[in-house]
Assembly symmetry: none
Homo-oligomer: 529 residues x 2
């Protein structure tokens, strides 16, 4: 029997604070999830949310899913209402999905205090709703809300909900850790107690966890190890409070650690791409430290290890990063020694190992700079310029020499805030003076520099300052502290590179990073524009 990978990014995951998908976003996310190979995509709650009703309507013509079955979510019928007369169940059927996931209360306290009905009526609501949808030809999953809390408080009642849903024809009954308070051993114990009590196989059950103990992934794995073959999660663990189980980590663990074939062949390598694309659509910065898919998931910093990583990368990576579509990275930091600097250079196509003197000079220089607050771990382009400058005949040509610059910020009598910069340069033997305004001192300086250089370097037109980050180092000394600036630049070919500058003065630090950015970009784009 196969595993059911059930994604709820578009329904439960959308509860994450700050997420608000348009219908077009939802369609795009669904396509990505399908490319990743999930078996089920829960798209939303038709009827309750107009946007979701619209999503299911458009999905019928606009979604062509290869792997996944589309699922509409809703709740069991209202207390005291005939199932055929319940408009919410009507909307569920109108969504015309092959499968439906119903949520039911399974903790008697929530039945009585939140739903304000009786335990018996709640069981009838489960029975009627499942029966009705099955009769209409739907595959039905039933989410037992607050399953674990309910089972602990009154296991007889919670078991009765599970039993009722299975008897009525639910394909799987899903144990939900709605408040997210479980630990793996508690999940294992509850599943064992439930299956023993009801005499059902765990493969009739499903698992849905939340990350409030930081154990959502482990709780899901524990359930699968206990025989459960249907698990719910969301892309990147998005969800309410600390989120849902991160489907990427769950799937990677099951495939790579337990050898369970939960995804179709060839899909696992899509993981990083799908993860980042969904983050883009959700407008949430990707978590660089996320397991498996983060940019830092396979980044190594320690100098201690770098020499050995060269010899045998798999001794230092728990899996081959390529199997999930990720890469290993070596970071250049104050903790790094010569070995990691050589390794990093090789990554950049520069043979430092063959030039031991240059390697010594680069290592010395990196250590000095890092002691002064520089950091190259996020600034590959500045690092490359530094290495090249020490390699015979490899130094990047400096596109200009600075004579002076001046930046002015004025808050005028009328309240207007104006920034203006003037640069005086020597460019290919010519003296250039250029002035520009900007919406801040750094922006003005960047603009003035471009104005001054553009005639000699037309390729600058394609460069765009894509990101600018400031960090104050040793902030406990007030504004006198050192400033570190990172600048990310892109060119018209879609390439991007990051440079760094450090100085007590934020303008001078930014200047360094801007100049490195232009130098690197010009050296890389040799007059081909």
């Amino acid at each position: 029997m196969t595993y059911q990978v059930f994604d709820t990014t578009l329904r439960d995951g959308a509860q994450r604070e700050g997420i608000s998908y348009s219908v077009v976003d939802k369609l795009a996310v669904a396509r990505l999830l399908d490319e990743f190979g999930v078996g089920f995509i829960e798209g939303g709650w038709p009827g309750a949310m107009p946007k979701d009703t619209e999503f299911f309507r458009r999905a019928r013509t606009e979604l062509d899913l290869k792997h996944a079955v589309l699922v509409a979510f809703g709740s069991t019928r209202k207390a005291g209402l005939d199932v055929a007369a319940d408009p919410q169940l009507r909307a569920l059927l109108d969504a015309e999905t092959p499968a439906v996931c119903l949520v039911a209360k399974s903790d008697i306290r929530h039945v009585e205090r939140a739903l304000r009905t009786t335990g018996d009526e709640n069981l009838a609501m489960v029975r009627d709703s499942v029966t009705h949808l099955v009769a209409e030809g739907r595959r039905v999953f039933l989410d037992c809300e607050h399953f674990f809390d309910g089972f602990r408080y009154d296991s007889a009642y919670t078991s009765a909900v599970v039993e009722t849903a299975l008897a009525a024809g639910a394909e799987r009954v899903v144990m939900c850790d709605t408040n997210g308070g479980m630990l793996p051993s508690q999940v294992t114990a509850a599943i064992s107690a439930l299956t023993e009590r009801l005499g059902v196989s765990p493969d009739r059950l499903g698992i849905h966890t939340q990350n409030d103990t930081g154990c959502a992934v482990a709780n899901t794995i524990a359930a699968v190890e206990a025989g459960v073959r249907h698990f719910q999660g969301t892309a990147n663990g998005y969800g309410e409070r600390p989120g849902n189980a991160d489907l990427f980590a769950v799937v990677a663990n099951l495939q790579l650690k337990l050898g369970l074939p939960v995804l179709p062949d060839g899909c696992l390598t899509q993981m990083v791409r799908v993860s980042h694309a969904i983050a883009e659509i959700a407008n949430i910065a990707p978590d660089t430290h996320q397991a498996y898919v983060g940019a830092a998931a396979f980044a190594h910093k320690a100098g201690l290890h770098a020499s050995a990583i060269k010899v045998d990368p798999l001794l230092y990576n728990h899996v081959d990063p390529a199997v999930v579509g990720n890469d290993m990275r070596i970071l250049v930091t104050e903790m790094a020694g010569r070995a990691s600097i050589e390794l990093k250079s090789r990554e950049l196509g520069l043979d430092l190992a063959g030039h031991p003197d240059a390697a010594t000079r680069v290592t010395k220089r990196v250590k000095e700079l890092e002691a002064g607050g520089w950091s190259f771990e996020a600034a590959d382009a500045s690092f490359e310029l530094l290495v090249r400058s020490e390699l015979p005949g490899m130094g990047a040509a400096r596109p200009f020499a600075l004579e002076s610059y001046r930046v002015l910020v004025e808050h005028r009598e009328d309240g207007a805030v104006v920034s203006e910069a003037t640069v005086k340069l020597r460019v290919r033997g010519e003296r250039v003076i250029a002035t520009a305004e900007g919406n801040g001192p750094i922006n003005a300086l960047d603009e003035a520099l471009r104005v001054g250089l553009l005639r000699h370097y037309p390729e600058l037109r394609g460069f765009e300052l894509a990101d600018y980050k400031v960090r104050i180092l040793e902030g406990s000394h007030g504004t006198g502290a050192i400033t570190r600036v990172l600048v990310e630049t892109t060119d018209s070919a879609g390439r991007d590179w990051t440079t760094v500058g450090v100085h007590p003065n934020v303008v001078e630090a930014s200047w360094h990073a801007l100049v490195d950015a232009l130098t690197y970009g010009v050296a890389r784009t040799p007059a081909e524009v």
Copy 2:
């Protein structure tokens, strides 16, 4: 026997990409960890890192720890070197800490390929190093690097390392999942196999996990459930790649879910404060979705559940947020926003609830400002000024009116970088023009403002700009992005307050924060200086 909560935020946690603590930072983090009640603080690697040597030197006179024992980290002696002649072990002893944590290779592949020595010599290195440090009166912990991978590959050799260290007098031998690839069930199985093989009790062992499968917390819990009573982790899970086990989630789970008394009484409620303060020092934005301590950890979208949550909050929270120093938050509705603003004001001693019109105006203004990127979470003083300005007769007097300012940064022909600011103000009816230099534009502006105001407000002499933070919002639009500045000011009485400014121009954003800082400070110090 008690549990050993072993924190390695300052050693292994500092491997996180982007973290670079100063010695002052390290001392501050150690104090916070001690307030949180950890039993051991691993402070760094003396000898290998000059900053860490300095940390241990200053710790002797500047750290007065209530709960924690300070631990120096180092590696076993070099292959082929006499233990007494090893400079690295000498530096460990010179750190003069009561306890030492040694790292040893315990995977035969790493011994042979990375360390390039024999299995026997590695065992001798473990034996000699532990014996030597114990003879010098140190409590010794031994971290078995790559324990789990090694044990899987060659359990006889890895077991021999454990056995050797215990026989030599190590207090605990720590099983490290260095590559972070384990799942809880695999941790449980390995501990059972090891203890059976060696005939030792699991309480002689420790656990150190990394989060590469997203299971670091669960793996730690699994080890404790298997009888291990020493566990290592870091504040907020900081660490290399996806990080270490988050000590906050581990401790909260053990105390609140398993009822194990791992912290001294009264410490658990410090968790949120300590977590956020360490994030500030590390200059990493707190993870709002972090289990237990995140701002969203107990945040509920209102609506369906709102009334039920009010009646019985514990039905919707897996623990009472107050026990870890957190709060429940209700999102979305305007009433909730207003309620929390009233609550916050009451915290500051201002009665907004008694002035419904003012409360409406403040709520509206906060919402508008927050939509524009302002954030008052870390800027109580700016928030208080805003609330006061809407309360009849409570507004803080503005100490001056701005006419204009001008800031100039020059990089001169001789390479000197000079910043100069001029402010034109009206102070108590008098027109004041003042100019000052600084080591950056913001510092110059701050100085000019003080020069201009000092004659009228001599108390400014006691104010010091203690911290200055910049964050770029919506960084994907280049230097045109919005800048948020936080300024922390202290006065001669040791009080401190934080203010905020937001503007596309970093100078103007800083100006707002500086002016709020002076206004608040002057209003608070009525001519008593």
